[in-house]
């Protein structure tokens, strides 16, 4: 998603959200403009993760 050597792109509040949810942004696909990771993208991964862990347990 990101240029070689560049960080995943997002905004500070979304980064905070990801931090709070324990999500690594390098594992998130951005659907915003030019691949920007949005709040929804993080929440989608979080929900999927929850679902996944629910299954594992």
């Amino acid at each position: 998603t990101a240029d070689a050597g560049e960080r995943p792109r997002s905004t500070p509040p979304v980064r905070k959200l990801a931090r709070d949810l324990g999500i690594d942004l390098t594992q998130v696909n951005g659907t915003g403009e030019d691949g920007l990771i949005t709040r929804d993208d993080v929440q989608r991964v979080a929900a999927a993760g929850k679902a996944a862990s629910a299954v594992t347990i």
């Binding site: 792109r9 905004t11 500070p12 509040p13 980064r15 905070k16 915003g32 403009e33 030019d34 920007l36």
Partner: protein, 337 residues
């Protein structure tokens, strides 16, 4: 309450200061009989005499330097620098003496000097008469730097500046000298203290920080944006050193977006400090990078070009669009690179 122009409100503030404290003296070029080139000291020499309101020899270092000596003697000098562009010959006395004396003497020596500076562009003037040198002084530790945007503040703030024991640079928005408003000469408990910013208009989407001449422009931008469904909170910084960051921070934590504007060049201007400090304080709340709308990084242009140089409604609204992530007809700018 009396209807006054901004310049008249300063005149009346100076009159109060002269009347209230006989240690207050005014000195500057042409401030006596002429009443200043903008008439801000009109009639004050007539009223208080040439000892209280002095036409100094033509030398800015001399004006500031002798004010230092007068302050040592217990006076509260109020210096007028005739135009922004003529403060530089006095720069050494301001930066190396006025600013440092309180610190140098571990608080023993106070220098309650007020330096009045008509500043900014927009009046079609010739070179050196439209500058915005405030950032030089805001970067200088030991000075207070303030700027007013309306008659009431002009009146209140000049009196607060003169009453203050710290040295104060008082930047007067010269193109707003003729702006009219109601002024109360009673400074009461509800008067904003020196150093505080003022929320000039409440809003929820974008914080727009301005000071001095651009506050009315910012208010116009807020009104225009409201028509477009964007709610702008306008903050009149009032104090540029120190900056009342708690007021700005509170606003940005609400809006998530900041635009800051001034006439001075962008690089190293007040906007840089506001953007950097707000980013430090509000990082996790920011939806977009703070945007700056400023003069360009060139000397102030000839008057014929000043409209293109000065931040105006269009440029403010463009920045609002940018921090809102909206394209617009002016720049077609995209929210992310």
């Amino acid at each position: 309450m009396t209807q006054m122009t901004l310049g008249g409100a300063i005149n009346s503030g100076l009159r109060h200061a002269l009347a209230d404290d006989d240690k207050v003296v005014l000195l500057g070029e042409d401030i006596g009989k002429l009443g200043g080139v903008f008439r801000v000291t009109d009639k004050l020499q007539e009223e208080f005499g040439p000892r209280r309101v002095m036409d100094a020899p033509l030398a800015e270092a001399g004006i500031i330097g002798t004010a230092v000596g007068l302050a040592f003697r217990g006076y509260r000098p109020v210096c007028e620098i005739q135009f922004d562009g003529f403060i530089y010959p006095g720069f050494d006395q301001i930066v190396a003496q006025v600013a440092k004396l309180h610190y140098r003497t571990r608080g023993k020596v106070k220098v309650p000097i007020t330096i009045r500076v008509p500043f900014g562009g927009g009046i079609g003037a010739v070179e050196h008469h439209s500058e915005s040198p405030e950032a030089y002084f805001a970067h200088t530790a030991g000075l207070r730097v303030i700027s007013c945007s309306n008659p009431q503040d002009a009146h209140t703030m000049i009196r607060q500046a003169i009453a203050c024991d710290d040295p104060v640079l008082f930047f007067e928005p010269k193109r707003r000298y003729w702006l009219k408003g109601e002024v109360s000469e009673e400074l009461g408990a509800d008067t904003l203290p020196m150093g505080s910013a003022r929320v000039a208009r409440e809003g929820t989407d974008v914080t727009l920080a301005a000071y001095g001449p651009l506050v009315p422009t910012a208010m116009d931008a807020a009104a225009a944006a409201a028509d477009d469904g964007i709610s702008i909170e306008v903050i009149d910084l009032r104090s540029l050193s120190p900056i009342d960051f708690s007021t700005v921070e509170k606003s940005v934590r609400k809006t998530g977006r900041l635009v800051v504007t001034h006439e001075a060049a962008q690089s190293g201007g007040i906007g840089a400090e506001v953007a950097a400090a707000v980013t430090e304080r509000c990082f996790d709340w920011l939806e977009a990078a703070p945007a700056r709308v400023t003069g360009f990084d060139t000397p102030y242009p000839p008057a014929a070009l000043e409209e293109a140089f000065l931040p105006d409604l269009d440029r403010l609204l463009d920045a609002v669009d940018r921090v809102m992530g909206r394209r617009n007809s002016l720049t077609g700018w995209k929210a992310t690179a």
